[in-house]
Symmetry: C2
């Protein structure tokens, strides 16, 4: 039996998935590294955890065909080096080489959002569909675009950066240096920060007593008539709708999958996006697209990453056939 | 010698190009059909013109490997039927079958904007580059997106409809039924109509004496201090910049090619788009992209269409290799 391992390196948690050559998820595992600051120490731990995952799945290291790693940040186009990961504080880490030297098995690295999109495409809401967009709204906002089953990468491996498309170039400032990015209006971190700033300025709101502040509370207090919560909730609904509708108009996908912490906390956003697509997408394109919720939650990244080292031809015909 | 013929069916004019198997343009031709209302009459004329083009290039019908046709409107995904072309007034015309029956050679039909994008990709500004966006701004606004040398088609063959992405869903009405589409702000037909409406309302402007009204006059009168022209010109620059910058952020192409009648009349728009990309695209993506002017002008559609029936493998390695 041949197997693949997927790794999702988060800021605090690392998730692993063991997947068979036929695409069955055999085992999953999560660990909290002592810290990711020392890359060598982290990789030793990761190697150990991969070995233990293989044992859990009762397969030998020889059966391991490859390891795929998803990681937040900018990844080199050849899938070998983490150029910069702000979450981990890593710069130019040749993770694929380092892990290959230890495991003696092929390793591929990919942006975490794209790995998660691949997870939803192969194991989640996108099974059997080749043309789709997975839009993840959590702390930040990102997307993975699949065309004919292939992940769109772009010239600098940056395709899918929908979070930094601009809705209003004179809007609120974003961490990217720009203004009015989609992420500023719907990303959890920005919404929290902007609401806190309003509270500090003295705006009266029930959200001042909510801790930790989450979009779910914004939705609930908007419903209960809190003006500040209402204003932010309407903005989230509007901005996410605009961003999603423009994606559908531009790329005409079969499927738009919505996932991430914000959507999981407020699943009513899926219906709001459907409404926005009906309202703002030209007739022919909106008739073709289905808007659905992601299925895998936080597991998407690791199970998706497991598919990165697989030869395209073996990823199953319906998703991976060339269009 | 094997040859291909490309056809670009415009509202009033049809253009033809004869291209060798090695990709040399051997001959071109333009004709004005008596009218496109009667499909059968039009196709007889087209057949005749293709024969005469082959004679002009001194090749026999036997050498003709295939015909590609570009046509404004909605084309079926299998590339055989024109579902609806408002310009031509055609509905459900099985053009590929009809022309194949007459010529005895394979025929493929494609949206005219995508055919033109293919033209720029293979013969124009995009030679040797596989990942690019061709954004055409003329009477309307459309784009062709090439990924790894392949045209993006989308689920309903509608990918690239950037003209109907929304900048402001409460903006001026568009012919698509929506509001605030990119096309409303930069498409020649909408800009003309909106300026005329202002003039009819009594707004004082030197543009009232310009006939026919073209974006070039808007640019010039804006420079001379006409307030209405200034307002519209700033809006064109802003909207085209936003649309282009968001395309680059989302898709991270190597090349953004700008063409179409509006860009040809006011080529300074290319520099304005470069400025917008510098200002509104995240650092990593903007460093990778080059913004250039289209090279082929109105020839792009016909020469590009000639490449539609070609087997992918023979379209030349640099553009057509799978990425």
């Amino acid at each position: 039996m041949s197997v693949y391992v997927g790794v999702d390196i988060g800021g605090t948690k690392t998730r692993l998935a063991l997947v068979s050559g036929e695409g069955r998820i055999l085992a999953e595992k999560t660990f909290l590294p002592e810290g990711v600051g020392q890359v060598e120490v982290y990789i030793s731990r990761l190697q150990e955890e991969i070995r233990s995952l293989l044992q859990k799945g009762r397969v030998s290291m020889e059966a391991l065909e490859g390891v795929g790693v998803g990681c937040a940040g900018q990844i080199s186009q050849d899938g070998r080096t983490i150029r910069f990961s702000p979450n981990l504080g890593w710069r130019d880490v040749p993770l694929a080489d380092m892990l290959e030297a230890r495991l003696g098995r092929p390793v591929v690295v990919e942006n975490d959002v794209r790995a998660a999109a691949l997870g939803e495409a192969v194991f989640g809401s996108g099974r059997g569909v080749g043309d789709m967009i997975c839009l993840f709204v959590g702390t930040g906002v990102g997307s993975g675009i699949l065309i004919g089953g292939h992940l769109l990468r772009g010239e600098g491996n940056l395709a899918g950066e929908v979070g930094h498309t601009k809705l209003d170039p004179e809007g609120p400032p974003c961490t990217c240096g720009g203004r009015g990015c989609l992420e500023v209006y719907v990303g959890g971190a920005h919404v929290r920060r902007r609401i806190r700033e309003e509270i500090l300025k003295g705006v009266e709101t029930s959200l001042a007593r909510v801790d930790p502040l989450h979009v779910r509370a914004v939705e609930e207090w908007a419903r209960r008539g809190d003006p500040l919560a209402g204003r932010y909730w309407r903005e989230i609904v509007w901005a996410l709708g605009m961003g999603a509708a423009n994606l559908v108009t531009l790329l005409n996908p079969r499927l738009l999958i919505l996932g991430g912490g914000v959507v999981e906390a407020s699943p009513v956003l899926v219906q709001h996006v459907r409404d926005a697509v009906s309202r703002w997408v030209t007739m022919l394109s909106r008739d073709r697209v289905e808007v659905v919720r992601a299925q895998l939650g936080p597991r998407a990244g690791a199970v998706g990453a497991s598919q990165l080292p697989r030869p395209k031809a073996t990823r199953g015909p319906s998703v991976w056939e060339d269009s």
